[in-house]
Amino acid sequence: MTTVASVSSETDSPYSLSHLDALESEAVHIFREVAGEFERPVILFSGGKDSIVMLHLALKAFAPAAIPFSLLHVDTGHNFPEVIEYRDRTVDKHGLRLHVASVQDYIDRGVLKERPDGTRNPLQTVPLTEKIQDEKFDAVFGGGRRDEEKARAKERVFSLRDEFSQWDPRRQRPELWQLYNGRHAPGEHVRVFPLSNWTELDVWQYIAREDIELPQIYFAHQREVFQRAGMWLTAGDWGGPKDGENVEKRLIRYRTVGDMSCTGAVDSDATTLDAVIAEIAASRLTERGATRADDKLSEAAMEDRKREGYF
C-alpha cells in the first residue's frame, strides 16, 4: 500500500518509509537519546505487549552491543502466571538485570492497605516511586501510548517528574522538532515514552512483522472467568468471584495485560497474530474501554493517577 495510483511519486519514492519503519526509527532515536544523556535509565517491563515491544526496540537500537539499561517490574501480586514465566524467560535469554517492586511487600508491611474492591492497580504508584528513588533511576521508560486515553494524549515523550513522581500537566515542556529536553534536578526523574505515537494496531502490526513472541494469554484460549462490572475477570484467590458471581468457562483472550483484579478478557476466537490484528481492526471499542475497570472510575481517572505518579 505504499503506492497508490494517484499519489505523486516524486518524494514518496524511493526514499519513503512505511509507517512502521518511521515509528520504529523514532522510538530507536528516543532510546539512544536517553542512553546518551542519562546515568541510570530503566525500562518498565510488565510482560505486556507494549513493554515487550519496547524491549525489542531497545535490543535493536544498541545491537550488536547489549542494552545499557536494566528492567523494572512493578509486581502487584496478582499476576498471570503465564506472564511471569514469560518475564523470567526473557530476562534470562537476553542476560538482563531485573528489579522488582512488590506491592505485596508493601501490603504485608502494612504500608499500603488493600482496597475494598481488591483492585491493586492504584497501589503500584508508591512501590514504583520508592524503587525509582532507592535505585536512583533518572530515566524510566514506559510503554504508554497517546492513543490509549485522552490524558495520555497530552503527555510528552520526555515527561519530567518530581521526587514524588508527580506529573503536572500545566507545567510540561514544549517538545519541538526532535529536540528532547532531559534536564532534571537531583531527585527528579524523567518518564520516557518511546511508543507515544504508536496505536494499538501499530503495536500488533509491528509484533507480526518482527515475529515477536508474546505470552499466550493474548491469544484465544478456554478460561474460567466470571463477570463483574461488565468485564470478564479471571477467577483466582485475589478476590473473585464473590457471592452471586458465577464462574463459567469461555473462549477468551486478553487485549491488555495488567493486574488480574482489573484487567478484563474479551470474547475471542483469535488464536493467531493475523486473527488478532483482524479482530482489533474491526473492534469498535478502545482497548482500555474494553478491558480496564480502573479507567471507568471517572472521566479524569487516568489524569488523576498520572498526577500522582502512575505510569
Binding site: 518524494t11 514518496d12 520504529e24 494524549a153 497530552k154 514544549p174 519541538l176 529536553n181 474491526a282 489524569e303
Partner: protein, 448 residues
C-alpha cells in the same frame, strides 16, 4: 458498523506511509467540528469514546455530543471548554496513517502552534467563509511559513452559510494564497468545505459542482510526505557510540544516530564536525541489517574506515558539503517559557545531539505576526513572542540555515538552573528579518 470487508482487512494489515500534520484554529472556526468529522468519518472514534463524550455532553446540558471533548483531555480544558495544550490524535485510512497535532488558535497559544508545526509536514488553516482572511488567519500562515511546513491547506469552512458561492471561496483563496506565498509558503491548497454538513471533508460535496479538487481527506492521503530528502545536505548527529567489546564483536565501533537530512551511502567521503577529521563510510547498519544506502529519518549506525575520535554531539556530514561552524548564531525564535528571555541571559543551547553553554547577546527585534510589524530592540521576549536573537555559544557549532534543513537548522534554549525549555530557534534569515539588522562589528557573514 462492526463488520470489515476482506478488501479493507488486507489494506489494514499492510504497511502504509505516515503523515504528520497540524491544525490550528479556534472553536469559532469550526476546527473541532472538522477534526471530529475526520476522526468520526474515518471510523477512528470508537464506541466507548463516543459514549464517554455523549455522557459528558449530557451532564453539561448539551443536546448534541460535543466532539471537542474527544481531544480536550485535561480536566482544566474540559472545565473551561478550551484547548490549552497540543493534543495528538491518531487515525488511519487504508492509504495512510496520520498523526494530528491539534493546537489552539488564539494568540496566547502561539507556542503550542509552533510546537505542533515543528514536526508537521502539512498544516490545515481554517477560515470562516463569512469572515474571510482575518488577523488570526495571517498569524497561522506566518507560523506555517516560519516553521517551514512544506504543505499548507486553507480550509474555507462554513460554505453552507454563504450559499456555497464560488465567488466567496475564490476571493478568500486568492487573498490567502497571495499573502502566504509572499511569506514563503511553498505549496497552498485551498478547499471549500462545510465541516458541519460534511461537504468536501471526507466525501465530495454535492453542493459545490464548481469545485473540482480533492476533499480534505483525499488531499491528506495523497500529498507527498516530504522529508529533507536525497537532494538535501546529508547530516547525521551522533547520539551514541556502540562498542560491544564482546568475543563476537571485539573491534566493532559504530556511530548511532537518526539521519537528520539527506542520504548516506557506503563509500561516501565524510567529515566529522566540529573536529574536521575526514574518513569514509565503511558500512551502514540499519537496526541490525547491513545496507548500502540509508536516508532520513532512518535510525542507523555508521561504521567508518578510520578509527578517529568521535563522541555524542558530533555531526557526520559529506566532506563535499560540510556546513561552516560558528559560535555566533542569528536566529528567529519563538519564546515558549513563562519567564522572559532577556539580553545577557545565560542559557544552554541544544542543537542536534549537542548541548553547549550560550549567552543571549542581543534581541534586535520582536515581530507581531498578525501584521508583520517589527518592534526594534524590545529588550526581552515574553511567552509566545516571535523575535530575532543573536547568540554567542561557548563552542563552535555546525549549524545549517533552517531554510535548508529543519532539523539541523533548529535548536532550543534551556534554562541551566531549572531545566525549563525557554525558546525554540530557527537559524538564519526569515521573513521576520526583512531588513537584516546589521551590526558591522559582529557581522561575520553567514555562508549558506
Amino acid at each position: 458498523m462492526s463488520t470489515i470487508t476482506t478488501g479493507e482487512l488486507t489494506e489494514v494489515l499492510s504497511e502504509t506511509t505516515l503523515l504528520r500534520f497540524a491544525t490550528a484554529g479556534s472553536v469559532d472556526d469550526g476546527k473541532s467540528t472538522l477534526v471530529g468529522r475526520l476522526l468520526h468519518d474515518s471510523k477512528s472514534v470508537l464506541v466507548d469514546q463516543l459514549e464517554a463524550v455523549e455522557r459528558a455532553s449530557a451532564s453539561r446540558g448539551q443536546d448534541a455530543p460535543d466532539l471537542a471533548l474527544l481531544t480536550d483531555g485535561l480536566r482544566a480544558e474540559r472545565e473551561q471548554g478550551i484547548t490549552i495544550d497540543v493534543a495528538y490524535r491518531y487515525f488511519a485510512t487504508p492509504r495512510r496513517r496520520f498523526i494530528l497535532a491539534d493546537t489552539p488558535g488564539h494568540v496566547q497559544y502561539t507556542r503550542n502552534m509552533v510546537t505542533g508545526a515543528s514536526t508537521a509536514e502539512l498544516t490545515v488553516i481554517l477560515v470562516d467563509a463569512r469572515n474571510g482572511v482575518v488577523e488570526q488567519t495571517r498569524r497561522h500562515a506566518a507560523i506555517a511559513a516560519l516553521l517551514r511546513v512544506p504543505h499548507v491547506v486553507l480550509a474555507v469552512n462554513k460554505m453552507d452559510l454563504v450559499g456555497y458561492e464560488e465567488q466567496v471561496f475564490a476571493k478568500i483563496a486568492e487573498e490567502f494564497t497571495a499573502y502566504a506565498s509572499e511569506l514563503g509558503v511553498p505549496e497552498i491548497t485551498a478547499i471549500p468545505i462545510s465541516a458541519l454538513a460534511g461537504d468536501n471533508v471526507v466525501e465530495p460535496s454535492a453542493n459545490m459542482d464548481w469545485y473540482g479538487g480533492p476533499t480534505v481527506l483525499e488531499h491528506l492521503e495523497t500529498v507527498p510526505a516530504s522529508h529533507d530528502m536525497a537532494h538535501c545536505h546529508a547530516r547525521l548527529p551522533v547520539q551514541y557510540v556502540i562498542r560491544p567489546q564482546t568475543a563476537d564483536h571485539p573491534d566493532y565501533r559504530g556511530y548511532a544516530g537518526q539521519i537528520a537530512a539527506g542520504t548516506f551511502r557506503v563509500g561516501d567521503p565524510v567529515t566529522v564536525l566540529p573536529s574536521g577529521r575526514a574518513t569514509k563510510v565503511a558500512g551502514i547498519d540499519l537496526l541490525g541489517k547491513p545496507v548500502d544506502e540509508a536516508w532520513t529519518p532512518q535510525s542507523v549506525t555508521l561504521l567508518l574506515e578510520d578509527d578517529i575520535d568521535i563522541s555524542r554531539g558530533d555531526l557526520i556530514v559529506p566532506s563535499k558539503d560540510a556546513p561552516a561552524t560558528t559560535q555566533d548564531i542569528e536566529a528567529t525564535v519563538c519564546h515558549v517559557a513563562d519567564a522572559p528571555l532577556t539580553v545577557g541571559h545565560r542559557v544552554l543551547l541544544k542543537h542536534g545531539t549537542r548541548t553547549v553553554k550560550a549567552i543571549v547577546k542581543d534581541i534586535p527585534s520582536r515581530l507581531t505576526l498578525d501584521d508583520l510589524s517589527l518592534h526594534p530592540h524590545p529588550g526581552q521576549l515574553v511567552a509566545n513572542d516571535i523575535g530575532r536573537v543573536k547568540i554567542r555559544t561557548a563552542e563552535a557549532l555546525p549549524v545549517d540555515s533552517y531554510a535548508d534543513s529543519r532539523r539541523t537548522g533548529s535548536f532550543i534554549l534551556i534554562d541551566p538552573n531549572d531545566g525549563t525549555t525557554l525558546t525554540a530557534g530557527m537559524v538564519g534569515e526569515s521573513f521576520a528579518s526583512p531588513e537584516p539588522v546589521k551590526d558591522e562589528a559582529e557581522d561575520d557573514g553567514w555562508d549558506f
